[in-house]
Symmetry: C2
Subunit: 243 residues, 2 copies
């Protein structure tokens, strides 16, 4: 029996933000995701696995049984590995390149998808409002597929950040300029908002430019786009001229 009660308690406690902050640790699961994190500069606290063979690195590894993994896993179908990593300290915001900023994005899947999109489109800086879902939330970690370590994510007061930075600021809006005919700069801050309410009024007041993804469906019936798909389309528009 290699997993002590205290270890089990520690691992499951890390599903909650307050314990992740207390211990400065987070959990990642599955062969692919853990191996991606092992190949990054993240500090390993401990890796638990049912099979050493699936791992790219073998330091700090402890073999456990499938039953033990089930006990601590947050996945419906646990996948051989659970890794505990140290949360790295936040780096300064790089304001000299394209930035994606999020205003109260709540859904972990959406944040995970947006981190992957940043990675794909070479966006190295993601700025999140303090009430955006924590990027070390297990569901975010699982959906980023490892791209988390290649994007610098900073949680800060969004209004004050937007007030201080010198890049042009953009957001998505139903009544903005058609994004397909807009001349978009290479460096900018693209601010995306909450799933239900979009960006807050305060943020809206400081964002300079509103972009619209034209709707082709009939009349006004079509629901707005999901924040992750809207981010995909807008990032693609900002970047398409560069390739």
């Amino acid at each position: 029996m290699s997993l002590s009660k205290n270890t089990i308690k520690l691992i499951t406690s890390l599903r909650q933000k307050k314990y992740r902050q207390k211990h400065n640790l987070f959990v990642a699961e599955g062969v692919k995701v853990v191996n991606e994190l092992l190949s990054s500069s993240l500090k390993i606290f401990k890796i638990y696995t049912t099979s050493i063979d699936v791992l790219q690195k073998s330091n700090n590894v402890e073999l456990i049984t499938e039953d033990e993994l089930k006990k601590v896993s947050n996945l419906k179908a646990p996948n051989k590995v659970l890794g505990i990593f140290e949360i790295p300290s936040e780096k300064e915001i790089d304001t000299n390149n394209f930035i994606v900023a999020l205003d109260e994005v709540n859904d972990p899947g959406n944040l995970g998808t947006i981190i992957r999109l940043c990675d794909w489109f070479g966006v190295k800086q993601l700025v999140c409002s303090k009430n955006t879902v924590d990027c070390y939330n297990p569901k975010v970690i699982q959906s980023t597929m490892g791209s988390l370590t290649r994007v610098n994510i900073v949680y800060t007061d969004l209004i004050s950040f937007l007030g201080k930075n010198n890049l042009p600021t953009y957001t998505a809006d139903m009544d903005g300029e058609n994004v397909y005919s807009s001349k978009l700069p290479e460096k900018a801050v693209l601010v995306m908002g909450n799933e239900a309410n979009g960006i807050s009024e305060e943020v809206n007041n400081v964002v300079q430019q509103k972009l619209t993804i034209p709707r082709f469906g009939n009349i006004q019936q079509t629901e707005s786009l999901n924040v992750a798909t809207a981010t995909a389309i807008l990032l693609s528009e900002f970047k398409r001229g560069l390739k």
Copy 2:
């Protein structure tokens, strides 16, 4: 007590495809989604609500308690209404317009997002391989936010469909033509594949054109894009010249 044991059994059985097919019924939940479906041409089987006031139509409605709703709801946070609707009969495939085709998309959230994208971009026809997740799956219904009724969805043998239709066929591929510099036709079939494996070899053999969304991130590390975000970007590219 208005919900009989048999009713509870019927409603919860509809989470499974075989019972949806047996009864030809599906479930939708929440004020917004149910009202969207009520305003469509779908036939109502029964609506259960904790508050008549939230509904746009009041035929076939039965008032239930919050506890009763909790018993039959598939949501973590039940939202006032659960509607049972008849599954409409499949219409013929409209091969005279832009078509999105899916090859074994498994994740209900991805299918829901893709249906919303079709609706947004005015794509009226979605063709799914028989092993694509059922569009009346409760998670699909919840994530389409009502756009389901504005897109004609047909499940069929994809190879045979692709062989018969006369539109040019496209898919996403790592080694295709840069989508940003491709001249794309107004009418086409865009085939998107499975989350883990992409399109099957058989489908790949009959698709004529491969499109690549260029990767801006460093080297080969970046994971591939999620199928829903890739669909968003490609649909945007097909349609952007038209607005």
